[in-house]
């Protein structure tokens, strides 16, 4: 079936004129129509625009153009601005917001000829680890509709896992690509801070946010990341450095690759999860990698550090939502203070308000030094730990999540327990490092992921290692029952 083919295979079929992009787009739109009512993975489906973009891609190909993404459908997380299309960020605040321009990521994928099928559901303003904070309701995990797909990019992950599109964009502030990729059995990569432009990507925590991609395999992710990456003068954090050919180095042998096993992340690990990670490490060793244990003593403080820094930045970023220029506005405000307070009180959901208040508290007079400044110092210690580790190893390996997908509603009333979902993923965000999650097996019939973390700008090495792992295993080929 078309939806089980890799991006490389689809590109070849398109090049040979065996199928057209319009046919491919119709195929995925039909799957979305049939399956989205169950999954709730998409907030907006842009069928007419998608068919027009597909027809344009077919014309470009007929005119002699080539490219691995020309005519390939995708789904954008609803955090990326899409010109003329509602961009909600999963919030009531932006329920009626129609973006007046394209994000750079959207613009670049359009230029590569990729066809946007719609906008994926997500935790409100990307704050959540279960996709349950969305104003549009929870996304269901294709592997078990009673369970969450992870978050915050839960709709993007569920879409790719259910074969509603060959790939999808996401964002990752504390694990929001890697955690849902793991819980839905797909591949997700968060690149280095500054690798992909954030222009037009709605801000949550600006020193941590980074755009990335979901696909079923590392090879597919390489094509997508290639098109998304690179310098953009419109994002002041964008790094002006050349982008290597990610697809070109996928086949490099792993012989001699030095892999560090993160000691702190293997302590207290659930035995079945530990066995899967050990098996994945065994496969990498079989491919020639050499492994050694590495200790990052400050790493256990990642989660509390993150839950000071991220809310602080969120409270600042979300102050722009004032009920005046765009976004939700309350009825009949009696004065300006009432307009601000009720518009924000009504427009934001419970978790977003909780994070804004946490951030306001840690930045307030009398608490700034004890919380925010302290957290930024601990963050430096964590970053130094990683730098020392990467002087000795080429990659770090760990689990992506402590458990498989949990039940919808199981953790919503306990924010701290929810925050601990990201215990293995947050470190890479704090240090700005690239990291990838790849499927590595099942616990209780639910997919689990193995995480690879690299030094800054080592995306090619992560994709290469994951691709070689996926050539030796078939976990990434498994489809959820009913979605094959």
């Amino acid at each position: 079936m078309l939806h089980n083919r890799s991006i490389g295979e689809l590109a070849e079929s398109l090049a040979r004129k065996e199928i057209s992009s319009v046919e491919l787009t119709r195929h995925f739109l039909a799957r979305i129509e049939a399956m989205n009512p169950t999954l709730n993975a998409l907030i907006t489906v842009t069928a007419p625009q998608a068919l027009a973009e597909a027809a344009a891609a077919d014309r470009r190909r007929a005119a002699g153009e080539h490219g691995p993404l020309l005519g390939i459908p995708l789904i954008h997380k609803d955090i990326f601005c899409t010109d003329g299309v509602r961009t909600s960020c999963g919030s009531r605040m932006l329920d009626s917001f129609v973006a007046p321009y394209d994000a750079t990521v959207v613009e670049r994928l359009k230029a590569a000829g990729a066809v946007t099928l719609g906008k994926a559901n997500m935790d409100e303003f990307a704050m959540g680890s279960s996709n349950e904070t969305s104003y549009y309701g929870p996304v269901r995990n294709p592997w078990d509709p009673a369970r969450v797909p992870g978050g915050s990019s839960g709709g993007s992950a569920a879409s790719v896992a259910a074969r509603l599109a060959p790939f999808a964009t996401g964002t990752d502030t504390g694990g929001s690509i890697r955690q849902p990729a793991a819980l839905t059995g797909i591949t997700g990569i968060k690149p280095t801070y500054g690798r992909v432009s954030r222009y037009g990507m709605i801000a949550f925590a600006s020193s941590l946010d980074q755009a990335g991609v979901f696909a079923r395999s590392a090879a597919d992710a390489a094509f997508a990341l290639q098109a998304m990456s690179g310098f953009d003068p419109r994002d002041s954090t964008s790094v002006d450095a050349p982008v290597p050919d990610y697809a070109g180095t996928l086949d490099a042998p792993l012989a001699g690759l030095r892999i560090g096993l993160l000691k702190e992340f293997f302590e207290g690990l659930e035995p079945r999860n530990a066995a899967l990670i050990e098996a994945a490490i065994g496969v990498l060793r079989g491919l020639g990698a050499v492994t050694r244990e590495v200790s990052l003593p400050s790493l256990p403080l990642s989660v509390p550090t993150y839950y000071v820094v991220a809310p602080a930045e969120c409270s600042s970023n979300l102050s722009r939502f004032d009920g005046v220029r765009y976004g939700h506005r309350c009825e009949n405000p009696k004065d300006l203070a009432d307009l601000y307070q009720r518009s924000r009180g009504e427009g934001f959901g419970a978790e977003v308000k909780r994070r804004i208040m946490t951030g306001t508290y840690v930045l307030s007079a009398g608490y700034f030094d004890a919380y925010y400044l302290k957290a930024q110092k601990v963050r430096q210690l964590i970053t130094d730990d990683f730098r020392r580790a990467f002087a000795e190893v080429d990659l770090l390996v760990s689990p992506t999540t402590p458990t498989p997908a949990f039940g919808i509603g199981a953790k919503v009333d306990d924010p701290v327990t929810m925050y601990l979902n990201d215990i293995y993923t947050i470190g890479a965000n704090l240090a700005g490092l690239p990291a990838l999650s790849a499927p590595c097996g099942f616990v209780d019939g639910l997919p689990m992921g193995v995480q690879l973390i690299g030094p800054h700008f080592a995306e090619a090495r992560l994709l290469n290692a994951a691709h070689q792992y996926q050539r030796a295993t078939d976990w990434h080929r498994r489809a959820a029952p009913g979605y094959a």
């Binding site: 000071v308 765009y326 307070q341 419970a350």
Partner: protein, 96 residues
């Protein structure tokens, strides 16, 4: 450290968030739990450590030339505004 209701009311005011009577006890409880959780940072020894300024060592924010790069697109931008008149955003009367 636990937060009191008065402290949460003050935070909500600083953040310009209207919190309803029903919501308030939930926030007092969950914000207290979060503050207790992040209090474990207190035990970290950070003597002599400078607070981190950027995730990439040595990287600084670029400056651009002070030149006009954007054209006037107020009609498109204001299409998203809740209340607009004659190209101006409408808000409740601020000066009596």
């Amino acid at each position: 450290m636990s937060l009191t209701r008065q402290e949460v009311e003050k935070i909500a005011h600083l953040a310009r968030l209207r919190i309803t009577e029903q919501e308030m006890p939930v926030y007092v409880h969950s914000l207290s739990a979060i503050v207790e959780f992040v209090d474990q940072l207190a035990k970290a020894d950070v003597a002599g450590v400078a607070p981190m300024a950027h995730p990439l060592a040595g990287q600084t924010q670029r400056l651009r030339a002070d030149e006009v790069t954007e054209t006037d697109r107020h009609e498109k931008y204001q299409a998203n505004a809740p209340a607009v008149q004659a190209g101006l955003y409408l808000v409740p009367r601020v000066i009596e």
